[in-house]
Amino acid sequence: MPTRSDVERVLLPLGTAALAIVAWSLAVRLTHTTVFPSPLKVAAGLRELAARGVLWRYTGDSLRRVATGYSLALVLGVPAGLALGWIPALASAFNPVIQMARPISPLAWMPLAILWFGVSEAAPDLLIFLGAFFPIVVASMNGVRSVPAMYLQAGRNFGLSTPRLLARVVFPAALPQILVGLRIALGIAWLVVVAAEMIAVDSGLGYLIIDSRNAGKRYDLVVAGMLLIGAIGLVLDVVARRLERLRSVRWGFQGETA
């Protein structure tokens, strides 16, 4: 017999999704629209994309761009944030610049990205990097700043040198906050890649959407692309949340519901 929590975790969301599809289907039928596709048409569109081979290719292209830009943001952002959090003078020097650059939508960089790199892979990679870099830097910096003084004092007491203190106390103590930043940044990266692909390149899920609309008003493919983006985004978030359940960081997520 299914328990209550099974019902809530699995059946309720599935039921809601089923209801939404039924409502969508009914709405299309009742309004007699010829432009907006029904769920069945979208499913057929997905099969068509798979048959043409673009489904996997475009999905792969989008994921590869996110992987490139995001990895770069991760590799540069975490050390930069740790340094800014650890050295107050560095934070004083760079924080105003960071706080000013942060609210600029990565998409606003598009003209410059195209100017510098042309219509190439590097343009969306740069935008994804910019979108992910700042949240990672700020989360890492704040993570280091909020390490309780008691942990630092204990680390020093046991004779740890500064590099050891950073590796064995500061980083693990800040890790829960850093992971939150990484998860948020991954979500942003996935938002940015779609937008960037609409403008700067001719492949990927963002390109699929804009191309399907421009070349023949194929709204079945537009919606199919949107659903794919949503589903992949959900999977990415679930994977990122999994990291927060590791035993060595779970202490930082007390009182948070899964």
Binding site: P148, M150, Y151, Q153, A154, R156, N157, F158, G159, R164, R168, V169, P172, A173, L175, R247, S248, V249, R250, W251, G252, Q254
Partner: protein
Amino acid sequence: MTPPPKVSIRGLSMRFPTDGSVIEVLSSIDLEVKDGELVCILGPSGCGKSTLLNIVGGFLKATSGAVLIDEQEVAGPDPRRIFVFQERGVFPWLTVEGNVGFGLFRLGAAERAERIAYYVKLVGLSGFENAYPQELSGGMKQRLEVARALAVNPDVLFLDEPFGALDSITRLVMRSELLRIRRAEKKTILFVTHDIDESVQLADRVVVMSTRPATIRRIVEIDMSHPRDLSSPRYIALRDLLLGEIGLAHKI
């Protein structure tokens, strides 16, 4: 010839500048602690006794005066002298084993494992080696922190109101645990507390501090052997003496 004191505090004063004025926290403190002695520093909250402990531990620099341990001036924190906080000081990202072994990074793997096993057993955490602090009770976390400190084999322990966050029954258990551990490992212990009973139960001598700027009001020798009978006339007399020194009326 008497052996030199383990800890010697000489003419120690501490002043903190705050906006516009200077607050004097400690005023000409002189104290000597013998090797292996357990001294409680007793005073009201905010009297500066934690500041005193932080100076002796090397985490703060005094405005004037000096602290000598083994006749050497204290210049900074040192693994031979470990500070124990309330149980919040354990590292939540490490298991019990990881916490106990934290300060043992200079040892080889075999000796490390041996020491970890010994101190986990000494503080009664056997069976919890792979547990994380969040899975332990407050008292267990406090034992863990004591084990982490003892594992590096320090000769002085500084305890800053270590049992203050525990419930009263756990606190009684932890006091007898501390005395048991002290019999196994002869350490010099400076124990800061605002709890009069705690000081009479644990200390060889109780140093009574005044309110700010803190000076030493009186040093009371607790001439009772362990285990101490908490309802004996001597215990009650000493407690009443300390109550009077702290300046609390008997019928609050």
